[in-house]
């Protein structure tokens, strides 16, 4: 269980994290979503006590993590796969971490096996690909068999097989009753792996809900593009049925508030010819953009495209 209470982090005049409060519960995978620069990494570092909050408190299992004398049995974290010394072998890197936490040396081989790096144990990390480093970072996080696991952008650099493996691993860790929090700037990654999602933008909490609720909200907002012989007549008809219609071109309109099937039936009944009927399913990605656009535009003064 991770709990943040009114956490703020300022760097000079910049507010990286702004009065953030949330809880991350055990037993499920929680996605931590936000555009680049939203404060995800800063928040994760504050959970780990690496960065001190300017105000507010963060606790893990009721204790500020920095007050623990040893960490690996409580929280396993992969913040940045590059946070290693390239001159050491994978086994040496993990051995030092294990030793400092009084974790039996046999765990090193176990976790290397688990992440698929057993054969690379004696190789220097400097020669590892990003994907291999991600696996090594995950191995380090698993070393102490902790109840809380944090991962910052864990899917970066992984191939498809690696991504599928990580998703399975996260689900398994959560099913074992652990708290699993991972960040991403891609809704699609969160969508595939998480049950709960925290969305932040410009350091503020924008949403903290179950993925199912977020996607239901997203589906309600789907739009349909209709090409018709007489768009004006169609627009009048659909507006009368409660939809909102926006002209796209001389022969096309964009309709929201009515599903494609209903539009087709209405057009048939009124003898209007349709040339094309396309549902642009509003995805979670759109819901995410919708959520974060305001916060991004507000502070940066430029479009969402630029900020993302």
């Amino acid at each position: 269980m991770i709990e943040a209470r009114h956490v703020t982090k300022r760097y000079g005049d910049t507010v990286a994290v702004d009065d953030l409060s949330f809880s991350v519960r055990p037993g499920r995978v929680t996605g931590f979503l936000g555009p680049n620069g939203a404060g995800k990494s800063t928040t994760l570092r504050m959970i780990l006590g690496l960065t001190a909050p300017s105000s507010g408190t963060v606790t893990v299992d009721g204790v500020p993590f920095a007050e623990r004398r040893r960490g690996l049995r409580h929280v396993g974290a992969l913040l940045d796969a590059q946070d290693v010394h390239g001159g050491r072998t994978a086994a040496a890197h993990l051995s030092a971490l294990a030793r400092g936490n009084r974790i039996p040396r046999t765990r090193v081989a176990d976790v290397l096996e688990e992440v698929g790096l057993a054969k690379a144990a004696g190789r220097r990390i400097g020669g590892f690909s990003l994907g291999m480093r991600q696996r090594l970072g995950i191995a380090a996080a698993l070393l102490g068999d902790p109840g809380v696991l944090l991962f910052d952008e864990p899917l970066n650099g992984l191939d498809m097989e690696g991504v599928l493996w990580v998703r399975g691993l996260f689900r398994r860790l959560a099913a074992e009753g652990r708290t699993v929090l991972f960040s991403s700037h891609m809704m699609s990654e969160i969508e595939q792996s998480a049950e709960q999602v925290l969305v932040i933008g410009r350091g503020r909490l924008l949403a903290d809900e179950q993925l199912a609720d977020l996607s239901r909200a997203a589906r309600g907002g789907s739009v349909v593009t209709v090409h018709a012989a007489d768009p004006a007549a169609l627009a009048a008809l659909l507006t009368g049925e409660g939809a909102s219609v926006r002209p796209l071109s001389e022969e096309a309109v964009e309709v929201s508030g009515l599903p494609a099937r209903r539009i087709g039936e209405l057009a048939l009944r009124h003898g209007l010819a349709l040339h094309q009927l396309t549902t642009k399913a509003s995805s979670l990605e759109d819901a995410f953009l919708e959520l974060t656009a305001g916060s991004v535009e507000y502070a940066a003064g430029d479009g969402r495209g630029g900020a993302l």
Partner: protein
């Protein structure tokens, strides 16, 4: 994975039977980290070979002068030959200081520059303990380095001088002090290096800082013109080492404001302690 049923706390985690944290484990971890870098044995071996080589070669070169003095009665008088001045010479001492300072600095900035420090402190939130363990390991290692260099140089050089009957024994006045100070300059400089590494965190800045502190700053505090400057200069690690590594029987002039032996030991100790404190405090305080 869907076959598994979610059951909070169904399986006991390692955390359930967490053993009492021990400082010794952190020391062992730092020891593993140090020796798992290829550069460590190389730097140490190279330093040992070069410094001892320079010392022994200096003694060997002196044979020419000692022998000529014995034949002709000019130049070096055999009785006035000082085996300490060349046998534990300043060039070697400078190389030892540089190597030790660099080892100390690398041990700290290596963590920051690579980002490893975040992994380290996420694993052990007790930063002060990590820093103390690192100080202990680096101090022990560089003390051993200095001891090897000082004893091999002293005994090797004086063994060579036996044939010329001008060698010194470790029991001769001041000799044990010379060897000890020659050895201990290594850990003192390593600690200074650790402090600069902790303060500057980047490779180039840390190395420039340690070289400046150990080798350039003393140039500003030389001469006999201003007593205060000279007294400050006497307390710098390299100057304190020079004062201590000197044969009491040799006619060496220390100028108008000579440093005392006790004062010089005190200066070295103060540098060591202050540097260790700076390294630990800075590492504990700053965000990473």
């Amino acid at each position: 994975m869907s076959t598994q049923t979610p059951a909070a706390g169904a399986r006991p985690l390692l955390a359930a039977d967490e053993p009492r944290p021990r400082f010794a484990d952190l020391v062992a971890a730092e020891w593993i980290k140090l020796w798992s870098l290829r550069s460590t044995p190389w730097v140490l071996a190279l330093t040992v070979l070069v410094t001892i080589g320079v010392n022994l070669n200096a003694v060997h070169s002196d044979f020419v002068y000692i022998d000529r003095a014995a034949r002709t009665g000019t130049g070096h008088r055999a009785g006035a030959y000082d085996p300490i001045f060349h046998g534990l010479n300043q060039i070697s001492a400078d190389l030892l200081m540089l190597a030790a300072g660099a080892v100390g600095a690398i041990s700290v900035f290596g963590e920051y520059a690579t980002g490893l420090v975040r992994t380290t402190f996420a694993a052990v939130p007790d930063r002060g303990a990590v820093a103390r363990a690192k100080v202990l390991v680096v101090t022990a290692l560089t003390t051993a380095l200095g001891a090897v260099v000082a004893t091999a140089s002293f005994f090797g050089g004086n063994a060579m001088l036996v044939s010329r009957h001008v060698g010194l024994s470790i029991t001769d006045p001041g000799c044990a002090r010379c060897v000890a100070a020659y050895a201990l300059i290594a850990p003192v400089c390593a600690l200074v290096g650790m402090a600069t590494g902790a303060v500057f965190r980047f490779a180039a800045a840390s190395i420039v800082a340690v070289v400046t502190l150990l080798f350039l700053v003393p140039l500003l505090f030389g001469g006999d013109r201003y007593e205060l400057l000279r007294r400050i200069g006497n307390t710098l690690p390299g100057n304190a080492e020079s004062r201590l590594v000197s044969n009491p029987a040799a006619p060496i002039s220390w100028g108008k404001y000579p440093a005392s032996v006790h004062g010089s030991w005190l200066a070295l100790a103060a540098w060591a302690v202050a540097s260790a404190v700076v390294a630990v405090v800075v590492v504990r305080r700053r965000d990473v």
